[in-house]
């Protein structure tokens, strides 16, 4: 069933400063639907932590941002209905949401995705899609988190579209903390070393 073609998209508006009591309501009575820790036991892949700060054009922390991640499981599969398609049908839900804290800091726990199919049959290096919402952002900012040391980064069809001197803003350095693998991803929304954002 198809209706007459609508006049156009519903425009985006800012999430504003007061979203937490429904979108990230851990401190409120509202039940929490989405978590920052999405590394469920049934998800294949290396457990990793992705953490960092969200900074504005003055380098000051943004303390009222919401972040969402979307990634494949360790075998490069996204959740979805069409099990026969390559890259589909993971048990892993793949979606995480969190707010930054009063220092502008965030952390996700997930699995490191495997390579997923890209344009023209080329494989994409492991990556996680990231959406940023905040007061002062009239529409979502979209970017990707890539992982230091991945052999596929050099030939990744999306990273290759980014000027070489800006690619490092998308590749998270890896450290270890105890037994945990930690990738650091700092979001600089504006100015020097500004994070690359994509039109998707």
């Amino acid at each position: 069933m198809t209706d007459p073609r609508p006049d156009g998209l519903t425009p985006s508006q800012t999430v504003g400063p007061f979203f937490a009591y429904v979108l990230t309501p851990a401190a409120y009575d509202t039940p929490v639907l989405f978590e920052a820790d999405i590394a469920t036991p049934d998800a294949p892949g290396e457990r990793i932590r992705i953490e960092g700060y969200v900074l504005d054009g003055d380098g000051e922390p943004i303390v009222d941002a919401m972040l969402e991640i979307w990634g494949a499981d360790g075998e490069g599969r996204y959740p979805g209905a069409a099990a026969e398609e390559p890259g589909r049908n993971a048990a892993f839900r793949g979606f995480g949401r969190t707010e930054v804290d009063s220092n502008g800091f965030f952390a996700f726990t997930t699995v490191k995705p495997g390579p997923v199919p890209g344009p023209d049959g080329a494989m994409q290096a492991p990556h996680v899609s990231l959406g940023v919402f905040a007061r002062g952002l009239l529409k979502r900012l979209s970017t990707r988190i890539y992982f230091e040391g991945e052999p596929g980064n050099e030939a990744d069809p999306i990273l290759s579209l980014v000027p070489s001197d800006r690619r490092r803003t998308l590749v998270a350095p890896r450290t270890t903390r105890g037994a945990d693998a930690v990738y650091t991803f700092t979001l600089r929304l504006q100015g020097e070393d500004e994070t690359v954002f994509f039109a998707v």
């Binding site: 998209l9 519903t10 508006q13 800012t14 990556h127 009239l138 999306i158």
Partner: protein, 236 residues
């Protein structure tokens, strides 16, 4: 067949930098966005439907022991894509100020009363035809510090997923005839007046429940796949 979402329609959105909205000045990226092809990472997306909502999540007037103060309203509409296809079984999260213009968020310092019977958080899932409906009270306008004597028009925040990562939308619904529209830099950040008008709900007597609540209709249009050709002809 390559699936591609239309890009041209994105012109309906505000630019990142809208200087009259002061918070954009130090948060809007200064570098141009880099256009990327739509890969599996963009064409897939989280799927959240009926399992995520509880009975009563769609009635913001019945979440506490008593009834909230304010004008009771019903908000309903359809979620469609650009091609007119319904977006079924998709989660819609809504939040708003109370009738006095105060949010329960800990950082809201507006000296208007909190209402112990109103939180202002709701969740609904669209049905097979993309329809949603919830009951609430009409939110009040409230002051903010963007510029001297700045007030936001009454609005309800909406957050929607749709079928993929790139159909995600966060927006605000407004009420018809609000005298604050002309003064609001967030509303006016949308360049095209016709696109702006799509954020204004429509009063609807057929939705209005006798002796109970006024009705407003707000249809939402998410991005559509630029399918070639469509399976069914359009009516127009």
């Amino acid at each position: 067949m390559a699936v591609r979402y239309d890009d041209a329609s994105l012109a309906a959105h505000p630019p990142s930098l809208a200087p009259d909205y002061a918070s954009t000045r130090r948060r809007a990226p200064s570098q141009p966005l880099i256009i990327i092809p739509h890969t599996l990472s963009e064409l897939t997306g989280p799927v959240y439907g009926h399992e995520t909502v509880r009975p009563g999540d769609d009635d913001l007037t019945r979440q506490h022991a008593g009834e909230p103060l304010g004008e009771r309203i019903i908000v309903t509409g359809r979620v469609l894509d650009e091609d007119g296809r319904p977006v079924p079984h998709t989660l819609v999260e809504v939040w708003q100020a109370n009738a006095a213009g105060r949010y329960i968020h800990v950082r809201d310092q507006h000296p208007a009363p909190l209402d112990p019977n109103f939180s202002g958080a709701g969740r609904v899932v669209t049905d097979a035809e993309g329809r949603y409906r919830f009951t609430t009270v009409k939110p009040g306008a409230y002051p903010w510090r963007n510029h001297p004597n700045a007030w936001r028009p009454a609005h309800i925040h909406f957050s929607l997923f749709g079928p993929s990562f790139l159909t995600r939308l966060v927006t605000q619904m407004y009420f018809p005839g609000d005298p604050l529209f002309a003064y609001d830099p967030i509303f006016n950040s949308i360049p095209d007046p016709r696109a702006r008008d799509r954020l204004v709900s429509r009063f609807d007597m057929d939705t209005t429940a006798p002796e109970w609540a006024l009705g407003y209709v707000f249809d939402i249009v998410l991005r559509g796949r630029d399918a070639t050709p469509t399976e069914e002809p359009h009516d127009d």
